[in-house]
Subunit: 193 residues, 2 copies
């Protein structure tokens, strides 16, 4: 069964996007600084390896409706070249894009996960969006977390880990460092505490 991965670029103060996310600021104010490790030229070798691995391992994506609405024009495609599942409250026909499809799921995260795992094969199911991440974490459905720790303080924005979650034990099993980001990989320990 494919693993469920949360892989996010996060500022030192815990934000995965800046303030005022919307069509004008898809990553929020200053939020694009979170992805310098992906978009800088020349690209650092460590960052390039991490990015390559991220694409190679992704077999399906689950994202929230807000992330979809802000991103769909920007990407002009699916965010990764694999089937994408959008968690939403509004039924909608599947949307076919160049490198994959957006399927709209209205019956909750477990249904989305089931559908994503059915197509991901031996690759990972990747989550996108803070709200989706928190829902999956609270439900104990995340296997691995990779945080690309970015050395900036955004001051305001979208928090990845918000108040009110459970205490969750992790095991850090890899640290890769570049000037733009420290990529730390964690396994989520289950049934422990």
């Amino acid at each position: 069964m494919s693993k469920v991965i949360l892989d996010m670029s996060m500022s030192l103060d815990g934000f995965i996007a800046g303030a005022n996310v919307g069509k004008e600021y898809p990553m929020g104010v200053n939020g694009e600084d979170l992805h310098t490790w992906i978009f800088s030229t020349p690209k650092d070798k460590v960052d390039a390896d991490v990015e390559r691995e991220m694409f190679a391992k992704t077999g399906a994506v689950i994202l929230g409706n807000r992330t979809f609405e802000v991103g769909v024009d920007l990407w002009g495609d699916v965010p990764f070249p694999v089937p994408s599942f959008v968690l939403t409250h509004k039924k909608r026909e599947t949307l076919i894009k160049k490198s994959g499809t957006f399927t709209f799921v209205t019956d909750g995260i477990e249904s989305a996960l089931q559908q994503a795992q059915a197509v991901a094969g031996d690759k990972d199911v990747r989550l996108m969006g803070a709200d989706i991440a928190q829902q999956f974490l609270s439900a104990g459905l995340i296997d691995e977390i990779q945080i690309n720790h970015v050395p900036i303080l955004l001051g305001d924005g979208v928090r990845l880990f918000d108040l009110g979650m459970k205490n969750i034990q992790l095991e850090k099993d890899r640290v890769l460092d570049s000037p733009h980001a420290t990529h730390i990989h964690y396994r989520v320990l289950k049934g422990g505490s």
Copy 2:
């Protein structure tokens, strides 16, 4: 002039103490997990080096009144063997402890900083407490930040970096990793953005 250092152990979700900090839980619920890197036996060599450096470089401490009240009995002394300055609203006589003094400062952070720098010599002035950290950061008075990133999700507690701060540029200049913590050192870039 001595530098102003913020050096904190922080969970992946941004907490430097658990929920319900008080006499019963000085570090908050599960908050002691943040200091496994200091208190585990045997101690990891990386962690031991980081701790030794932390003590060797500290010339004075500035802390908030809440940190003082929760900690004073627990420490049975000053938190570091150097002069400590407590920011408070209530005037109080200097308290003499075994390895240093608590001086109570009622006229604001700049006064506390001046008094701390006067005694720190060529060593650092170290800040303790999230509230103090946020006040000094907002005032642009912090030179260096060391975050001991601890691989746990506490779920709730005292946030180090709270909403409403300014966007602040950092430069990561050292990463030291142990199984218990990833110690990342940042310089605060000033007058830039």
